[in-house]
Amino acid sequence: MDLLDKFDATTALRDSLPFEKADPFTVVMDEIISETEAMIGGRHTILAGTNNYMGMTFYEDAVEAAKKALDDFGTGTTGSRVLNGTYGGHKALEATIADFYGMDHCMVFSTGYQANLGMISALGGKDDYIIIDADSHASIYDGCAMGNATIVRFKHNDFEHMEKRLKRIPEGAGKLLVVEGMYSMLGDAAPLKELLEIGKKYGCMTLVDEAHSMGFCGEKGRGIAEELGVEHLVDFFVGTFSKSVGTVGGFAVSNHPKFDVLRYVSRPYIFTASLPPSVVASATAAIKAIERSGNRRAHLWENARQLHAGLKKAGFDLCTSTAESPIIAVHLPDPMMGTKFWEQLLMEGVYVNMAAPPATPAGMFLMRVSVCAQHSSDQINEIIKRFIITAEKVGLELKK
């Protein structure tokens, strides 16, 4: 029996999409010109689907710090954080993040995905309950699958639905409530105040993933919880270096006095090599910069509002009524239109993410646009203009 036969339906689905000139799952960036532009298939392309929200990938201090770390410490650590893979830089990065969040402890993981895996699988034991939002990122679902806890799911951002379920969990049981500050596909923010207050009322410990809100939400850029003034209700924050911080890696921070024991029990922390010193150095430099990047934050929000307003005025069907984040998701009616639209938009020189089930909620087909603090106002106008041209060319009807 061929073990790959079970994926034939997936292959058939892919083959049914009418890509002719490009395929969203095999795009190659041949040359990165700047934070906002690349050469793709010989075309000069505006990047509007990179998660590089704060535009830190070419930030001078971060690049310099990485180069120096490469020279001083070499290309990699070749080992686990709990063996030979913790250098001075890793400890300095953990101290920088703890300081940034104003919390006592921080653990740095090798990816954001592993940070969620490592935290959730370790915290949720056999007799415990983990309560998650239905639209949670795959890393949260996988963290649940990896542990032994009982998993309870509530409807996306619906705190009344959540409360009904919390009432049914045995009173004395260990409970971990896991939510995200910002949901990555539609760019919609969570009602964290209500979710966390209710969670605390029922005795939950709380974990908030700020992967898509760190950098630009809140005065210092710590995320939605900072913006809403509810950080005191959060026991654990999880975040990533692969969005606003501009490199790769993940972290968890907490004030819990026993937090450091997780270093000995979290398998995704232990059984993988630690981040290379150059990545650690650039992450440290970028996070320090983010804290004082009020101007970049302000410009990023201007860009998000400009794009949202422009696409809305043109008659596109947007997934949020206002710009809740730098992610502006455009709803397309079906996979065929989605495919044609994405392909034509790329031909017009704009790269966005084509997002399809199962990554999207409710079976939606989306053009997921994410803006960068380094986009100029002219580039945003250009993106809007090319969206309109593309709609005309592929016959997408716009609401007038």
Partner: protein, 81 residues
């Protein structure tokens, strides 16, 4: 085997989702016979939870392929209270 009353309650919750008017029996499968996608199943699970005032944990769902499986699981969870 779950009681007739439990089955009737579950049939009533499935009825609005039964677009192809498949005859509902204990052995009817959610994916195979009713062709419910995972999102519809998620909503149905939530409705069953609220109707019986129980939790149907995510961990259980892969084993609940037919109406019979769900009815038995519901009664077991209700009994454990």
């Amino acid at each position: 085997m779950a009681s007739a009353e439990t089955f009737e309650t579950i049939y009533a919750l499935i009825a609005p989702l039964n677009k192809k008017a498949i005859e509902l029996k204990p052995e009817t499968g959610f994916a195979v016979d009713l062709e419910l996608d995972s999102l519809t199943v998620m909503d149905l699970v939530a409705e069953i939870e609220d109707e019986f005032d129980i939790l149907l944990p995510l961990n259980l769902l892969p084993d609940l392929e037919t109406i019979q499986h769900v009815a038995d699981a519901v009664e077991k969870i209700v009994a454990e209270g």
